[in-house]
Every structure is written in C-alpha cells, then in structure tokens.
C-alpha cells in the first residue's frame, strides 16, 4: 500500500489529471490535429510537454473491410513491430493507422516533439477514445526514432481507447521493453475499449453515432442505442474464451477446427491497464492476458440488471474526467501483479469462473518464467557441447583439415563424436525454438544478450556441420539448395540469426556468415549444371566480397576456410582467373594464413 498511480506507472502524479483534461479537449477540437501543453511540476525541475490528439466518431475512421479493418503494420516506419520468429509482422487497425499518417505528414508534430526533446523535456502523448490509438502510434514512432540526445523516452496515456494491435504488436512492445511507457485508463463498463473485439456491424454505427451527437452538441439529449450489448460483448466474450482455452492448456483437438470456422477479432490489449471500478478505486494490471479477461468479465451482467448495464456502458465512456478526479484524489490503488487477490478483486465484481481465468493468466506467466529458467539451466549443457565442438575444430585445424571437411568425410572418431554433439545441441535448440514460437518464454527473451551471444556462437560453430551433413548426403536433390530461408535450413539457425540482426539494427540477411559453406557448395553444383552465367559470376563475386568482409573486417568467419586443402580453396583455385575479381586479396589471405601456421 501507499503506492500512488504515478509511482506504479513511473510518471509524476501531477501529470495525469491535466493530461486527461487536455485529451478530452483535443478529442473534440475542430481546428487542430493535436493540442500542446506544458506542465510544470512542483518540487521538481523537470517539466513535461503533453501532446493530445483529435478524435473522430465517423464509422469510417474506425471500421471497414475486412471486418476488423486489420492490416499489417508498415515495418519501414516501425521496424521493431514484428516477431523475430516465423509469426510475421504486427497487425493493427488500418483506419487509425491512416489517421496517424495524416497527422504525421501534414502537421507540425515532428517539429513540436523535436523542440521539446531539445529542451530536455519529457514528452507525453495522449488521446481519449478514438484518439488513443493515434497517441499510441505517435509514441511508438518516436520510440523507433529516439533523438541521440534524448534521455527520457516518450510516454503514452490514453483514456477509454479502443483496442488497436494484435498479439504480435503487444509481444513486440514487451520485447523492446516499451510496454511500461503505455498506460490505458478504462472505466469498468465503458463499451469503447471492448468494441474492437467484435466485427463491424450496425450496432457499432449506432454507438458511434450516439457519441458523435453527444460530442457535437448539436442534438440535445440524443437517445442512446439499446439492444447492442448482447452482440458486442458476446463476440468479445468469444475472444476471451478462446484465449482462456489457450491459457488453460486446452488439449481438445476440435479447438483449432472450430476456430477456423469463426471470425475472432485479432486485437489484444498491450501496455499497462488501469481499471476504474466506479467507486473510486483503481486496479493496475500489466499482464496482457489478465487485462483481456478482466476487460470481458468485469462487464458481465448480474442477475437482472441488463438494461442498466447497457446504459452504463455508454455513460461511462463520457465520465472519465470526473471519475479520475475522484480516484486520483483518493489514490486507493491496487496492483494486480503478483496474483489476483480475491478481496481486491471484489470491486471489479468478478465471478468464480473469471477468477479461474485470471489465475490461469498468472500461471501462464509463471510458466513462461519457468521455461526461461529451464533454458538458462540448459545453457551449461550447451556450453559443454560447444566446448567439445571448439576442441574438435581446433584439432581438425592442427591436422590441416578444416572441421567442415573433416566432418563431411566422417573418417575419424572425432567426426562421430561431433555428430553426436551436433544432434544433442539440435535437440536443445529445437526445443527452445518451439517454445518461442508458442510465446512460452518471456517476451524479451530474444533480446537478452546472454541468449543472443550463446546462440550466435552456436550458429557460427555448428551450422557449417549441418551444411556438411546436408551436402554429404546430397540432400539438395530432395529439398533444393540450403539458403537463408529454405526448407533445407533448420528454423533454429534462421531465428538466431534474426536475433543478432535485430540487436545490431542490421538489415535481414546481413549476418549470413554461418551460411558461407552452403554458398560454396551450391555454387559448385550450379556451375557444373549451368556454366558461368552472369548470375553465377555475380554470386562468385558476392562470395568473395563476403569472405573478405567476414574474415578481415568483422572476424565473424574463422580462417580455417582458408586452409590449403579445404573444399573452398581447392574449388576456388580451380576457377578460371577471369571469374575471380578479388583474386589477389583472397590469395593473400590464404598465404598469410599458411604462413601464420608455419611459424
């Protein structure tokens, strides 16, 4: 206890109320796409600049085709909003995205932000209702493009915002460590934060039209729509149940079949949610699965109050200012992290079934931590096997045969041992990859230095042996060449490569040094098949340049490829001179390497 909202979300308490006021004002602004306000904080020399965006209640600015208006995010603008395995890019609501782009391109937003950052001010983006997603995107945009001198990352506060991004979106936010910068205030019954969980329908239009006339103040006391609650929350409930099945470890094989017959909203909560219970209390929740379950279950109907709840679901969207004023005054705050405590949840009015859902959400998080712990423990095993591999590589080099060639021949006992190690490691890493694909480790796993490092070492040391095994058995005849993305290449290497490229902010494919041998083998095969076509010549030249860069510049490839008897050197020396543009430099590398060994 004694925690304040500000402390829990890492922002000064004095910022929240004025931000909410500005967000309301900006939402209904007719002239400006956003409003700016400076807030001075007492007893602190830090000052904050709040930018709040205009909203829109036109159905076109919310919905459209496809039924959830879902679209892949533009990863040129938002390079981090993708999964680093095979789950693709984040999906977001295209209508809100379009509105954000208009603001970005046609207003002074960038200028205003740069100005504030230059003055070392903290920037807070905010939005009420449909302006919420605009604030989220603005925050992300400036997180992706942090100014070099920027100490304080931008923050985002929304009030009654609709859901905006899918599971990958939230995963990417958490992976980047940005999730805590986003705080969303939601009233217990407010319909708008739930509305995106239901496909667009006439009910949605009625709801938006009602709010539009409320905000426009042209009609006096417009009549709220009725009879929408069953449809809208019913669809939302379907999403929550689907996710609950997943959290609870449902093993019924019909789940996937049934899912393929029904259309579920792709959107999921992300960031920190603060639920206003309606009696002055605030409940802070960070676990995204718990947020979704609360979002659905706390708005469930009681015994006989259907019409009343329906009305409240409209009224509460309009009540943020007064409610927040009360709550922030009382500061009766409960954080849900660390598990649902029955007493604190009474305010949210959750049923026993809802409590089980919350418990499963918490347990799922625990499971993710356990998995990571297990992988950490397995790092010792990985180290032991990598140690054997390093020894194998050294011993082969002493015999003046690269370990790649030695492994391909499989003449020595050591080669057999290395094969066993290779399989042992493949088992451990395949297990890790499967866990990652199912999001069963904490979201920031792929950004943890310890895993990137050990993964990269594994990839550089062992992938050549997989390639050797592949070409030893001429598997290219069955599956095609071993390339960066191909049936032939095990996923584990591709994913680990992407971790490193993401970490170094390098383009996809720039860290392909572990594929060197595959390029060599495949070029050999293709030259035999096709002769020296232009395409082949280009590839040879590329291989030469890569070799020089990897060996000489960043040392990501080891010099054993340059041994006189290696497959590479023998093949390369046999190439006609006119096909070797970098001949001199590579000859020099080979000679230097031989000399170094001779000493």
């Amino acid at each position: 206890m004694g925690e304040t909202v500000g402390k829990l979300i890492g922002l000064n308490d004095e910022v929240i109320s004025p931000t909410a006021s500005l967000a309301m004002e900006a939402h209904n602004s007719h002239s400006k796409p956003f409003l700016v306000k400076k807030i001075k904080i007492r007893h602190d020399h830090l000052s904050v600049v709040v930018l709040a965006f205009r909203g829109s209640m036109l159905p076109n600015d919310w919905f459209g085709q496809p039924p959830f208006r879902e679209t892949k995010i533009d990863t040129n603008k938002f390079r981090s909003l993708t999964s680093l395995n095979d789950r693709g890019d984040a999906v977001i609501n295209g209508s809100f995205f379009r509105r954000f782009n208009t603001v970005l391109e046609q207003s002074s937003l960038v200028k205003e932000v740069k100005k504030a950052v230059a003055k070392k001010k903290q920037v807070v983006f905010s939005g009420y209702s449909s302006a919420g997603p605009i604030a989220i995107l603005a925050t992300l945009y400036f997180l992706e493009n942090l100014e070099p001198n920027q100490i304080l990352p931008p923050r985002c506060l929304t009030f009654g915002s609709p859901l905006f991004g899918d599971q990958i979106f939230g995963h990417a936010l958490r992976r980047e460590g940005w999730s805590d910068y986003f705080t969303h205030f939601v009233m217990k019954y407010d319909i708008i934060p739930r509305i995106m969980l239901s496909p667009s329908s006439t009910e949605h239009e009625q709801i938006l039209n009602y709010f539009k006339s409320k905000f426009d103040r042209k009609t006096i006391n417009p009549a709220p729509p009725i009879g929408f609650y069953l449809t809208v929350t019913g669809n939302a409930s379907s999403v929550a149940s689907y996710e609950a099945c997943h959290l609870m470890g449902c093993r019924n094989p019909s789940l996937d079949i049934i899912k393929s017959f029904i259309e579920l909203s792709p959107y999921r909560p992300s960031g920190t949610y603060i639920f206003c219970t309606g009696n002055g209390n605030l409940v802070v929740v960070k676990n995204p699965n718990a947020v979704l379950q609360i979002l659905i279950h706390c708005a469930e109907l009681g015994e006989s109050n259907a019409a009343e709840v329906e009305k409240r679901s409209m009224d509460e969207h309009l009540a943020y200012l007064s409610e927040l004023k009360e709550c922030l005054g009382m500061q009766d705050v409960v954080s849900l992290d660390g598990g649902p405590a029955a007493a604190t949840l009474n305010d949210l009015g959750l049923s026993p079934q809802a409590m089980l859902c919350l418990q499963s959400a918490e347990e799922f998080e625990n499971g993710r931590s356990r998995n990571q712990y297990q992988i950490r423990k397995n790092k010792d095993k990985i180290e032991v096997e990598l140690g054997k591999m390093r020894k194998y590589k050294e011993n082969s080099e002493i015999r003046r045969v690269g370990y790649y060639d030695s492994f391909k021949l499989q003449h020595e006992d050591d080669d057999f041992h290395a094969n066993v190690s290779r399989l042992q490691l493949a088992g451990i890493w395949d297990e890790i990859e499967e866990t990652l694909k199912e999001f069963e480790v904490p979201d920031d796993f792929e950004r943890k230095k310890e895993f990137i490092e050990i993964g990269t070492e594994y990839r550089r040391l062992v992938e050549p042996l997989d390639i050797a095994n592949f070409y030893r058995h001429s598997k290219d005849k069955e599956t095609g060449a071993y390339r960066i993305i191909s049936e032939a290449r095990p996923d584990r290497y591709l994913f680990i490569q992407r971790w490193l490229e993401h970490h170094e902010k390098k383009p996809f494919g720039s860290r392909s040094e572990s594929l060197f041998w595959a390029d060599v083998e495949q070029l050999g095969i293709d030259i035999k098949k096709k002769g020296y076509l232009q395409e082949i010549e280009d590839r040879i030249h590329q291989l030469e340049r890569n070799l020089i860069a990897w060996i000489d510049v960043d040392k990501s490839l080891d010099k054993d490829v340059l041994l006189e008897n290696s497959t590479f050197v023998k093949w390369w020396r046999a190439l006609p001179p006119q096909h070797k543009p970098e001949s001199d430099r590579i000859e020099k590398l080979i000679c230097d390497n031989e000399k170094a060994a001779g000493l």
Partner: protein
C-alpha cells in the same frame, strides 16, 4: 502424494471452449438452416432428405449440408432400438482395437437408402473450396455423422474443402472409437441435459449398451450453461447419467433454438456458483463447476476427478517442444549406434558379434540406447495402429524410412540378446510385433528395384545396413543346424534335415549377395558368419541331393574368396 504440491497447477477448459462455441455464430448458422428445412419439409418424400445450401454473397466460402428428420421421426426417434449391424463398407474405420465396424441399424438403413444420392453429393462437395458445415438434428444428425465419415475417407491432401459436422440431440451411431484419430476433431455434438435421445441406447433395456462408443467433442448443456468434452469414457458416463435422469421423457421435444438463445445470454452473465471454497486446486474447482453447470451432480454419480486430472497432466506433457527434443534424441541414439558399428568394424568383427560377446566397455550403454529407440518406435507403431487405416498409412509414410533404418540397425542387437541366452527360433517365438509391422509396411510401400538402383547399391553397399533385419537370426539357426550336422550323436533324420536347412541358408545368403542386400561386414575375419563357414565347409563334401545352381554358386563364392571383393566398389568397377 506430497509431490502434487509442487506440481504446476492445471486448469480445465471445458467451460471456456463451450463458451467460445456458444458466443460465436457457428452453431446458430447450422441450427437456422435445420429449422428452415424443417419448416418447408412436409412435402419431401424421404424422412432425412439432405439439402445443400450453396455459398451466398454474404458467406462466399461456406456451404451447408443439412440432414433434418421429418416431424414424425423427431417425435418418435429410432423406434427399432439400438441394434448394431456390421457394416463392411465402413471398414476404413477399423483399427487394432476395433477390427470390424458396426453401426446402429436405424441410422444405417437411412444412410443406405440415400447412398446413391450421397455418393454423387460427396464427389461434388470434395471439389469445393472453403468451409463445409454438415449438420442435422436427431436421426438426421446420425446420418450427417455417417456422411461426414464417408466424406473424410475420400478426402486427400489436395482437397480444399474444410468440413465440420455439427449434430443436435443425435443418438450414438456405432461401436468404433476414433479417440486416436484426427478425424474426431471434425465432430461437434450438441446435447441438452433434457434430451433423452442421445443416451437412448445406453439404458439397461438394450443388450448392446456397452458396445456404443461416442467420438468427437460433445457440447453438453443445461439451463445454467454448457461445457465441452472429448474424453470418450467420460462422455459415455455423462450421457448415461442424462438419459437416466430424463427417463420416461421420450415424448418430450427439446427446442435447441430456445436453448441456444438462453445460453448466449448466460455467456455474458456472471455465473452463480457456490462451491469454490471447497477446492484448493483450480483443476478440481473448474471440473466441478463445469459439471454443476451442465446439471450433473458429480458426487452422486461417482465421477473420478483424479483420473481426469492425471489424464490432463499426461496430455499437457505432449508439447511440440517436447516432440522436437525427443526426435533429436532419437537421431542422437542412432548416431551413437552408428559409431559403435564403425568401431566394431575397425576391430574386424562387426557390431553384431561385438555386442553379443560384450567386447567393449561401452556395450553396456548400447543396451540403454536400444531401450530408448525401441520404446520410441514401439510407440510410433502403436499410434499408427490406433488410427483408421488411411490416416494411419499417411501418418507412417512420413517416418517409414527412418523406421526402416532403425529396424535394420537395432533388430540384430535384439537377436544377439536372444541367442546369447541359448534360446532357439527367434523369428517364430520372440520377434516383436513392431518389427513385423515395420517390415510389412516397408514391403507394402517398396517398389521393385531398377537396374540403376542396383548399380548404385553396388557402389554403396559397404556403407549400407543389411536389409533383412533377421539375417542374424537365420545365421544363428544355421550355426545350430551345423552343430546338429556335425554332432556324432545326432540321429540320421536330424542330420538330414539340418543339412537341408543349411542348403536353404546358403541359397538365402547368395540371394542377398546378388541383390547387394547384405553388408560386407558379415565377411569380416572374426564374424560369426565366417566362423560358421569355417565349420560348415568341411561337411559339404557329399551333395546327396541334386543341388540348386544358387547353392553351388554360393559355395563357389565362398571357396574362391570372391567375398573379399564384395562391396569394394573400385574393384567391382
């Protein structure tokens, strides 16, 4: 028992799955079409006429096929009772546990009467692209299920239609279980706790009560809510309870439309439930809550929650990550055996003899690797056997190659263990069923060897495994025969039969050699095979019977030492 305290808590998702189904519009769509058909149906001649609703502009990817019973058969379902009739046309559902298929007489009669029509319909539907909902009420649902099975059997990997079968208040249809088949995931059976029809054949008045087996997912519901189950035994139990509680209500017609409307409302209401405090662990709490929701008093009907938990726990183990690890472990054990084989070859003996004699220290670990490999492959074979024939076949093609390599590598070691103990007749007395099946499936899938393939085998024979995994069992028998032949105390009859067996063995070996089917490792200096030859060659002096040319060839092959160049590709070329 105290270990349970440290175990990861489990949850039961039966209620959430049902809620997801109810709040989506999937079953509304099916039910609406059933009602539509029933309203306009009086004029139809047949009582369960299927009706096809083609895709519409609103639902461009969805075809719905409805089997609705006439009003008459709704009120008096299945007057013939629960007789099960063997039906060979559905033998494609046979599994090891269910070697023949029987189907409820009434459902079968209807299905048969429509079969010509359904056969045309089936061909047409399989060619379609997109969702295919097959549905029906009561007896109509039974025929819908049969038709779906019939359709699934004809589908292949290229088929683009994605079927689901949804039945309402349908009786059980047969004695085959599909627990281990992917097919069961295509069936969703909606059953009200007020509906006597689904459990109709489970009351004691029917003699074949125990033969019926439910398959697929059952969505059981009461006025309070619903839950989904796919555990066949539990469903059978619950259906029995339901039918005993609505006894005598045969004339009651259950209105699934009304039930669905109520459930949809229930889904967004806070559930009333009182017993939470009684259970510390979430799994029991969930199960009990779900059972109470569907109107089942779990204490009264003796439902074993611990068994359900144990089952759920074992299922929770089977993750993709777990499988990936296991598969790589299996590859690792094979690599270790390969290494052992190479070491043995270098020692001039062959891995069969090294293992049998316990040559190296590490032989002890070989037994451990064998144990892992055998357990894995016995399980794979058992899984394939529990599936319906076609599904089992496609399941095993993906690993038959790896399974064959395993059989050729490991079965010789099992044979070594057997003969080391001084036993006789491995193939008849001790050969494990999974080896027999792996061999049988391989033979079924194998194509005749072409000239080129034989040439390439000739080049590679030194690295290949002996194809007949029972080669060493044949050799061990030949060694025993040789002893009988040379033993002075043997009766003349025994000697003669032993001599004949040895001739057969020689012919067999020569055939293997001609096909490059046997590894040259058998000719290693200290191998059992060469020892056998050393003893035998002294006794083949008097061919009393006219010998086959192949046997003569064999003797020549051995005596002239031609085996020395067998498998040396450079010499052969």
């Amino acid at each position: 028992m105290e270990r349970r305290m440290n175990q990861v808590p489990l949850f039961s998702s039966a209620g959430e799955l049902a809620n997801m189904v109810i709040t989506s519009n999937l079953i509304d769509v099916a039910l609406a079409k059933i009602f539509e058909l029933q309203r306009g149906q009086a004029a139809l001649p047949c009582s369960v006429q299927p009706m096809v609703y083609d895709p519409t502009p609103n639902e461009p990817n969805r075809t719905i096929v409805v089997f609705a019973p006439s009003p008459d058969s709704t009120q008096y379902p299945l007057p013939q009772g629960g007789d099960l009739v063997p039906y060979p046309d559905f033998d494609f559902l046979c599994t090891k546990e269910c070697p023949s298929v029987s189907i409820n007489g009434a459902a079968l009669e209807l299905f048969e009467s429509l079969k010509n029509h359904l056969s045309v319909l089936k061909t047409e539907l399989i060619a379609r692209d997109g969702q295919l909902i097959i549905t029906g009420h009561s007896l109509g649902g039974s025929v819908a299920s049969l038709f779906t099975l019939y359709l699934l059997d004809s589908m292949n990997k290229k088929s683009k239609c994605r079927p689901i079968c949804i039945t309402f208040g349908s009786p059980l249809i047969g004695d085959f279980g599909l627990q281990h088949s992917q097919w069961n995931s295509f069936f969703l059976h909606v059953v009200s706790n007020k509906d006597p029809v689904p459990g109709l054949f489970l009351t004691s008045s029917h003699s074949q009560t125990t033969a019926y087996k439910p398959f697929g997912t059952y969505l059981l519901c009461s006025e309070l809510g619903c839950a989904c189950y796919d555990d066949s035994d539990l469903i059978l139990k619950l259906l029995t309870v339901i039918s005993s509680e609505v006894a005598g209500g045969l004339l009651q017609v259950v209105d699934y439309g009304e039930i669905l409307r109520n459930l949809k409302k229930r889904a967004i209401c806070k559930g009333r439930w009182l017993a939470v405090e009684r259970f510390a662990d979430p799994f029991s709490a969930g199960i009990v809550m779900e059972l109470e929701t569907i109107g089942i008093d779990w204490t009264k009907h003796n439902i074993d929650i611990r068994r359900m938990e144990a089952e759920a726990r074992s299922l929770a183990m089977k993750t993709k990550a777990f499988d990936a690890k296991k598969l790589n472990d299996i590859k690792k054990y094979m690599a270790l055996l390969e290494w052992y084989k190479k070491r043995s070859k270098d020692a001039g003996k062959g891995y069969y003899d090294c293992f049998k004699n316990g040559e190296f220290k590490r032989d002890i670990r070989i037994g451990e690797f064998m144990g892992h490999l055998n357990a894995y492959w016995e399980d794979m074979v058992a899984q394939a056997e529990r599936k319906p024939q076609k599904e089992g076949a496609s399941f095993r093609t993906s690993w038959l190659f790896a399974g064959t390599t395993y059989r050729r590598m490991v079965e010789p070691l099992d044979i070594a263990v057997f003969y080391k103990d001084g036993k006789r007749d491995y193939i008849k007395k001790a050969r494990s069923q999974h080896y027999k099946l792996l061999e049988q499936w391989y033979e079924e899938a194998a194509k005749p060897t072409t000239r080129e393939e034989l040439d390439s085998k000739k080049q590679k024979v030194s690295v290949l495994l002996t194809e007949d995994s029972c080669f060493w069992a044949h050799l061990e028998e030949a060694i025993l025969s040789c002893k009988s032949l040379t033993n002075a105390n043997s009766t003349p009859e025994l000697r003669e039969s032993s001599g004949n067996d040895l001739v057969k063995f020689g012919e067999y070996v020569m055939e293997q050699i001609e096909n490059y089917a046997v590894s040259p490792e058998i000719f290693l200096k200290d191998s059992s095979f060469m020892k056998w030859w050393g003893e035998y060659k002294a006794y083949i002096t008097s061919p009393s019977n006219p010998c086959s040319s192949r046997f003569i060839e064999f003797i020549d092959f051995m005596k002239t030492g031609r085996y020395g160049v067998y498998g040396r590709s450079e010499v052969a070329a």
